[in-house]
Symmetry: C2
Subunit: 218 residues, 2 copies
DNA sequence: GCGTACATGTTACCTGCGGTAACCGAAGTC
DNA sequence: GACTTCGGTTACCGCAGGTAACATGTACGC
């Protein structure tokens, strides 16, 4: 019951937890998002129940793992957003940061984007209802909120700024994500080109473009 | 071995298949995307193996189910894109069409967005590699490609139009999707407001906005 | 009439996964 | 030396996807 004792144990537990997370990381990097608890436990050199003691359930492990990467990515993005440069440059650098991240570790990225979703362990099949919304990858949501905050803090679009900022935050993140996802799969162009194209889109080139000759126009 | 015979059987099989799909639809609508094969079979009044005979595996059923809804949604979107109105109006109406659809049947929408992904049935754990990319919901991909095509057909943005159109197509679809997903979960505003905000974003209001007084600007 | 071929459907099973209960040994403490 | 308390294990449950093997009806050729 000694306090220092407690602290000692706490510390060791925390270290263990970190080790487990690193192992999980390695497995996810190797096996993709459908990495099983067994596999992760094996990689860590232990067995399942320990994992469950540390993280509760698969969702808990996922959450912990996601935290790490999400935090890391978000801080990179923050840095890009806060760099001393004009708006366009910063938008481009933010896009590029994100794309570079998913390019570097696609497995992790996949894992982060597709959480376990619904899992009623056993028994209750009613009552779980349908929690549409809130099912989406926390990473996307957090990025969206973060971006919304930055926009709201720095941009002046008149009344309703707050609302607009949130819509835009989530919208832009979604654009980035979808384009990145597609790009990773097909690699139709270089990262730089993709960044430029997306920034152009955000810069209103869609509305500024001419209709094609001969058609009714888009 | 008679031909008419074959056709008869074919026809009946097709009808059965449609019935099964409708049953699956009902279950998905009720239980969400984690509807089990057992549940679907029960709803259809039959048992699992029949489902497997008709659709191969869960992915096959998913694909068939997705086809229907995706086709339906895409044709609505096409209609909105092709309506006789100016570009802005058409963009707004397309956004609204999509949002109305996911609002009307969120369960189906969730099902479509989160396919089964990787499932190595048993045995092989090597060889499956990691097929990053192409994992994303087919619906999003198809919408992206469709939109890209429309953009490319109708818009003139000089050289590199084709590439740009595809990036924009996927990007805009992603924007729409992410914003819609978030909106469905939080309902922070009306659909019309959301549509306007998104259209404003696409119309370059982000780049046109002033910096907020006192800050370094976004 | 009867065997045969085939599509439809069933029961009963296998595997693997998430998750848990119950037990085990090595410490540290009194 | 008994007593708790970690870190750990084995062995199991329930459920999901998926399949094999067995039943049934029903059209056909003969």
């Amino acid at each position: 019951m000694d306090t220092t004792q407690r602290t000692d144990q706490q510390r060791s537990a925390d270290r263990r937890r970190r080790e487990l997370l690193e192992a999980a990381d390695r497995v996810v990097l190797r096996d993709g998002p459908q990495a099983s608890m067994n596999a992760i436990a094996a990689e860590a050199g232990i067995t399942k129940p320990i994992l469950y003691r540390h993280f509760g359930d698969k969702g808990g492990l996922y959450a912990a793992l996601a935290q790490r990467h999400t935090d890391a990515l978000l801080s990179s993005l923050r840095a890009a957003l806060d760099a001393p440069a004009d708006r366009r440059e910063r938008v481009e650098s933010t896009l590029d940061t994100y794309l570079a991240a998913i390019e570097a570790r696609p497995q992790v990225y996949r894992f982060l984007m597709h959480p376990a979703e619904g899992n009623a362990p056993s028994g209750d099949q009613a009552e779980q209802g349908f929690d549409v919304g809130k099912h989406s990858a926390p990473l996307l949501r957090r990025m969206g909120e973060e971006l919304a905050q930055v926009i709201e803090e720095r941009l002046d679009v008149g009344p309703g700024t707050q609302q607009l900022a949130r819509v835009w935050g989530h919208g832009i993140v979604g654009m980035m994500h979808a384009a990145g996802d597609w790009w990773l799969g097909e690699r139709p162009c270089s990262r730089a080109e993709l960044v430029t194209s997306l920034a152009d889109l955000l810069w209103g080139r869609l509305s500024a473009a001419d209709d094609k000759a001969g058609g009714p126009g888009f």
